[in-house]
Amino acid sequence: MSVKLPIFMDNHSTTPVDPRVLEEMLPFFGDKFGNAASRSHSFGWVAEEAVEYGRERIAKLIGAQSEKEIVFTSGATESDNLALKGVAEFYKDKGNHIVTCVTEHKAILDTCKRLEKDGFQVTYLGVDKTGRVDPDDVKRAITDKTILVSIMLANNEIGTVHPIEEIGKITREKGVLFHTDAVQGVGKVDFDVQKMNVDLASISAHKMYGPKGVGALFVRRSKPRVRLVAQMDGGGHERGMRSGTLNVPGIVGFGKACEILLREGKEESAKLVVLRERLRKRIMDKLEEVYINGSIEHRLPGNLNLSFNFVEGEGMMMAIKDVAVSSGSACTSASLEPSYVLRALGVGDELAHSSIRFGLGRFNTPEEVDYVADLVIQKVGQLRDMSPLWEMHKEGIDLKSVQWAAH
């Protein structure tokens, strides 16, 4: 069976827009171009109605009680910034302490660093070797100065799903607000803001087969009513929390993407687990010295993060360049540091450099999975044949005993 190249297997970075999503968006680039904030004519009313319909669909997917709890943003980075900075600014007289975790996305970590400069104190919780936060650590970290806990739903690199429901119980009990960056997990794993006592949640359309440039922040309106200070000044859109003309076509697509996931998400996740296990087994049956990063049990359905010992990740990506994946190798980042997420799990630098993240999504097929697995097996073999480390390993040399000239 032939497959069409290149193959996209990097669905944590972004996802293709579902054709059904695109179809609903198109009229809003044409006749229905109105500004949703225009209250005085039909162009505005049409746009406003479409936006409100999008809001309802998004609210429904995450279990929000009211569509008024959805604040539109430009994407998850903005949602994360608004949640953390907005809450910190509003509640600063109540306390100055925030709890988060070391494997969070940079949109959270760098926002926390900024808040630290502004006088806030942040506790960065560690994770176990599968990348999970221990709810008891959250409990212990909360003080009478704590105003917010922010723990992601699922990690973007290793796919580890955090115990959000357990954490939500603790934060509710302690009377501390709970934010989650839910970008990677919404529609893919169990998520319900009501059941899980989540007070703020960041989501992004382009990670769920919607368009880029639109995201949302769920802001709870009752029990407790969450308040935040807007981080952008302007026309007072989104009930004063986020000024700026709404991205109407984007919101329409976002809504449709959520509606599809609400109907098909469960089935799709089950299909992705099968595909992922097919990929994992095929590769690991044929290759030795391959390690899985992250949790097997608590994992995003489409995520497979593997370290191919003695093969460098970027060299590997180049060898399989018709397959789009990503790596925790330093060489793929500007910083020349290997993935901080893998490091936090205690994965050694050598194996972090050797990691490849496969992100399976809605449009991947079993044929693609088999093609990729076979290509990976072949290329890892070739790269190991040209790896001095593999040769040394095969000669029985313990690489840790070698005095390397670090550079």
């Binding site: 180049m318 060898a319 060489c331 630098d349 050598e350 450099h353 790896s387 001095p388 040769e391 670090a406």
Partner: protein
């Protein structure tokens, strides 16, 4: 980042991959880099009695640019005298492969690998002379 055509060409068809007998008195071995840094190069030269590098082999753990840099290095030094091989500078490799700034360390490593192999060969030769 997009790779230059030359990097892709070398990475896909690396020249002179392999191993020379490190115990051969005419073979010099250079092993540079570190696994924790994401690149390790081993470059070996075989020098004949006229001081000419008659064979060169490499193995590299690293990104495409590291593989291409070491492949190019072996190609260049083969047939050169040890003295001429020693004159190869990392900038020559950067220019030939159009390496971007973030990949310059790959070329530095390749230059170090050549120098290290030559140093090893000389050390062996000196030891042999002393033994005579």
């Amino acid at each position: 980042m997009a790779y230059s055509e030359k990097v892709i060409e070398h990475a896909e068809n690396p020249r002179n991959v392999g191993t020379l007998d490190k115990d051969d008195p005419n073979v010099g071995t250079g092993l540079v880099g570190a696994p924790a840094c994401g690149d390790v190069m081993r470059l070996q030269i075989k020098v004949n009695d006229d001081g000419v590098i008659e064979d060169a082999k490499f193995k590299t753990f690293g990104c495409g640019s590291a593989i291409a840099s070491s492949s190019l290095a072996t190609e260049w030094i083969k047939g050169k005298s040890v003295e001429d091989a020693e004159k190869i500078k990392n900038v020559d490799i950067v220019n030939e492969l159009n390496l971007p700034p973030v990949k310059i360390h790959c070329s530095v490593l390749a230059e170090d690998a050549i120098k290290s192999a030559i140093a090893d060969f000389r050390k062996k030769r000196e030891a042999r002379k002393a033994a005579k």
